[in-house]
Symmetry: C2
Subunit: 364 residues, 2 copies
């Protein structure tokens, strides 16, 4: 606290990201990074951008990148907004589209940055409980008496559960007067067919879909996120952005992100590998007695009936494996485990087998 | 305007950056970029960072960069904040340190983003007029009856005029109860000796100094800015940042910025070249009859007694030379001209000689 702080500063409860330790031989399964490197075409595109041109400002509109995203999703460039990671895009959406007199609704269990944004921008929030299967029930939102806007991750984080497109469309149609933001950081891992709600933006002017290149494009280190929606929603984000920072994306990030959106083959092969590893990990952990929520993401959310989640996380850490554990009501007995490469998944399974024992080896 | 916009969005008047045209053979003297490329060490450091590691999040604290800046300025790392360009750093400072019940004071002629931030964060502003020589008069601020905080660029933009450190210290000492932000985007061009107010931060807990690597480090395309001040001011910025975007600086930007802060020799030689070119351009334009304000920046602010500034800008544009012209009270007859390399400065001088004529060639 300081004499010089604005009133806001003292009131904030900042977000705490997963730790980023730099230990050798660490099996890092705590921040949902992709186990595979970015596409070689991305690395080459960045290399090509390194030179004297870095003395010049980037294109403030990042038009090349908007065009690449528009081509990929068959929308117009004016339906695309880009930002410095999807967190920046979400921040602008909270300030520009989710702040109203009536409360913003989101699930009680979801991305823990949402209440932080509400604090930053003075947004009234109300959380609606996931059902007993940890799913979003659209009827809860349709029946909410007081609703200024809605946001939820899909698949949800940290549960990994997917809300089907038909349910999202039912929400959009039932609440045409409020903005609905679908935060699709993990949607590319839902399956080989696109499950993105971007397919709905042309029919629903109240829908904004937010995505990131951090996960399925293996570019957490480059900081690029985007949003797709009706041009008037995009204009709101542009007005905020141009009142905050004219050039949020640097030249290297623009070049790399364009290449990432264009290398379809690499994207398809790495996401297939992650999905394949996830399915095997789910089987392996189920065999060890874990209950695993159905995951459409590059992580799983799992609990063991006989072992405390915090103790499991500590035991894994002692074996140089880090996973994420949230000390929060309803989910304190779960671990969120990122899908690693095959060696990392095997190391995790081996470690958990040592810690919890293999029920198939126990005498009846 | 849209049903889905927050009330704020419609009220905004976004900042309009200088245009970034991509025309061949353009002499681009409108956005104060450095005419020299970044240090070769910077380019090599970025190249080294390109690889599979980009799949991993960057260090959210960017500790390497904070350490490099702290070493350069002989302060503690806890006195350093870094962000995605100085515009992002300024945005957080407006929200965290410059918003109070009493108004924020800044010069009537200064960085035109300041009133935009005030609009974005609902900050009450009051502008104080520069004196007739376009200088900041510290007494105006000391005598202001109602002052919640102060911000000004030094050297000022778009005038280029420098406020001496002794005057800044008089302001800091006379207003110990309010935060003072000195926006030093151009300070490195004030002279070979550092004129930065960072020298004052240990004596004045109310001082925050903001700088950028865009200008003197030739890295406008990389988006890195920073602030130095008392640890409690830095904490305010960190609390805002961690409520908005955990990872504003990507891995490549961190790597390049560290190298830029460490390559003292390249930095000294390019800033000396810019200062040298500026001094010659001031002489050449003075010979053509221009009145040029004393500049401590990598641009000059000049007017011609017999030629309308808007018409001069158009005539230059017709010759593929672009400079910046602000249609604003008191300065509508000035041009802001970035210092280019020697060939660009010569092209500008030649073009202006054609347009305004050389008074030395006229008959008495």
């Amino acid at each position: 606290m300081s004499l010089y702080w604005s009133d806001l500063v003292a009131s904030l409860t900042p977000y705490v990201p997963g730790e980023q330790p730099r230990l050798p031989d660490l099996v890092k399964l705590n921040t949902n990074e992709n186990p595979y490197p970015p596409s070689p075409r991305v690395l080459e595109a960045i290399r090509q951008e390194i030179g004297g041109g870095l003395r010049l400002y980037p294109d403030p509109e990042a038009a090349r990148l908007k065009n690449a995203i528009a081509r990929y999703y068959r929308v117009l460039p004016g339906q695309v907004f880009v930002g410095n990671g999807s967190d920046e895009v979400l921040g602008h959406a909270f300030q520009g589209l989710l702040k109203h007199d009536r409360p913003l609704l989101f699930p009680d269990i979801s991305y823990s940055f949402y209440p932080v944004y509400c604090g930053l921008y003075g947004i009234t929030q109300r959380t609606l409980a996931l059902n007993d299967r940890f799913e979003i029930d659209v009827d809860d939102y349709l029946n909410a008496p007081d609703c200024g806007a809605v946001i939820f991750p899909n698949p949800n984080a940290p549960t990994g559960c997917l809300l089907p497109l038909a349910e999202i469309e039912r929400l959009l149609a039932g609440k045409p007067d409020v903005a609905v933001v679908v935060d699709e950081a993990y949607i590319d891992f839902a399956g080989q067919e696109s499950m993105s709600a971007i397919a709905l933006v042309d029919r629903h002017p109240n829908l904004l879909v937010v995505q990131t290149l951090s996960k399925s494009r293996s570019l957490a280190g480059l900081r690029v996120g985007f949003a797709v929606g009706h041009a008037s929603l995009i204009e709101a984000l542009e007005r905020i952005k141009n009142s905050f920072n004219s050039y949020p994306l640097d030249r290297l990030a623009i070049a790399g992100a364009v290449a990432a959106m264009e290398d379809h083959a690499y994207f398809e092969s790495t996401r297939a590998a992650v999905i394949h590893s996830r399915e095997r990990l789910v089987r392996d952990l189920s065999d060890l007695g874990f209950a695993v929520l159905p995951s459409a993401a590059n992580f799983i959310f799992a609990r063991h009936p006989d072992h405390d989640a915090g103790e499991l996380a500590s035991a894994l850490r002692a074996r140089s494996i880090i996973v994420r554990h949230f000390r929060q009501a309803r989910i304190a007995q779960f671990l969120r485990i990122s899908i690693g490469n095959d060696a990392q998944c095997a190391a995790l399974t081996t470690a958990l087998r040592e810690i919890v024992g293999d029920p198939r080896n126990e005498s009846p």
